[in-house]
């Protein structure tokens, strides 16, 4: 019986014939109906990605941001490259995402993008739900920017760049799954890829469902198969004690040189990163 029809997630063994620059060992990509990859406890999956550049917000020691940071006010994040008429409607998460994406990508064009955010513009969505519940009309502008790929779309419009973009969310492991997505999409035909991960704390109403301390931050990583510097990524399925930060922060600390390696534990897995210049 077809695995999907039977309601079970399908497991795909990733091919080991891969383009130069990407190494894989024992890597499994999961195509699941749910957000939780059903990997057996104790199992480890790992791969590496060729890192060309990165950028973070806040710009100074992103990992050290106060954990209760509220979203930055509109003027605090420089996105002057976006036309003011396009910029005026953007929320804090999109502004942080566009800031790090633009700084990381520079003048490069045609680079595919993975936009990742656990919550996206959840505050905007919640405001629309309140309007609906009150029998009010929903703001068309708010709706247009509440969809998960809105930041990627605005980035494309602002830079006149038609490179393909995907937008993903995967609970507390959103950054990790964006790294898996990046690994899956890098190829000889598309040797560069920009990963952007941005989030702000979920609105108060949702706090009962959030187990980590959330902060406003964004991280951009540019991968390029022609780079020799490697970001090694490992995921261990486990049910250990979850970390008390969002997943991007320890990785940002590693990139900033604040530590030789980094790890983060979520509800279902532990992730580890190291960097080398091999």
């Amino acid at each position: 019986m077809d695995a999907l029809a039977s309601g079970r997630p399908r497991l795909h063994r990733m091919t080991h014939e891969k383009p130069d620059g990407v190494t894989t060992r024992n890597t499994t990509l999961i195509e699941s109906r749910g957000l939780t990859p059903p990997i057996a406890p104790g199992r480890m999956d790992s791969f590496s990605l060729p890192l060309a550049a990165w950028a973070a917000w806040p710009t100074h020691a992103p990992g050290c941001a106060a954990p209760t940071d509220s979203p930055p006010p509109p003027g605090a994040v420089d996105i002057a490259f976006v036309d003011p008429m396009l910029r005026r409607r953007l929320g804090p998460v999109a502004r942080m995402a566009l800031n790090v994406a633009h700084r990381c990508l520079g003048e490069r064009t045609g680079v595919p993008m993975v936009f990742a955010s656990r919550h996206g513009e959840l505050a905007r969505t919640l405001a629309m739900l309140h309007d609906l519940a009150a029998g009010e009309e929903v703001s068309p502008a708010a709706f247009s920017l509440s969809v998960h790929n809105a930041a990627a779309g605005v980035f494309s419009i602002a830079r006149h760049d038609t490179a393909p973009a995907t937008a993903i969310a995967a609970g507390d492991e959103t950054l990790g799954m964006a790294l898996v997505e990046a690994r899956a999409r890098l190829s000889e035909a598309h040797p560069q890829l920009l990963l952007v991960c941005a989030d702000a704390p979920a609105p108060e109403l949702y706090q009962d469902d959030i187990t980590t301390t959330e902060s406003a931050h964004a991280l951009a990583l540019l991968f390029d198969l022609h780079q020799s510097r490697r970001l090694h990524v490992a995921r261990h399925a486990s049910s250990g004690t979850p970390s008390n930060s969002m997943m991007s922060l320890p990785l940002a600390d590693l990139l900033a040189g604040h530590r030789p390696d980094a790890a983060w534990s979520g509800t279902h897995a532990r992730w580890e990163w190291t960097l080398d210049d091999a």
């Binding site: 008429m85 009309e137 703001s139």
Partner: protein, 88 residues
């Protein structure tokens, strides 16, 4: 009807997040869309919702006269005035 003109200019600024502008910055005779103020299609929808909430003006997107009403602040003032006279 100078008050209504100022009111509608302020409505446009508030509804469309034109945060850096004041009512005096909007030329009441200039086109709102395209070359003038530079509003886009999402602004047109947003403005339609704002006019409905504030003045109970109901607009049909298929009605060709809508484009004429949305030309400038002055044509919107005329639309709202006609509507209030009809419903008075």
């Amino acid at each position: 009807m100078d008050n209504l003109q100022t009111e509608i200019r302020q409505l446009i600024i508030d509804a469309l997040d034109l945060e850096d502008m004041t009512a005096e910055d909007i030329d009441p005779a200039a086109p709102l869309f395209g070359d003038g103020l530079g509003l886009d299609s999402i602004d047109a929808l947003e403005l339609g919702v704002a006019l409905r909430k504030r003045y109970q003006v109901r607009l049909d997107g298929d009605d060709p006269s809508v484009k004429r009403h949305f030309h400038s602040v002055n044509t919107l003032v005329e639309l709202v005035r006609q509507h209030s006279e009809r419903t008075a």
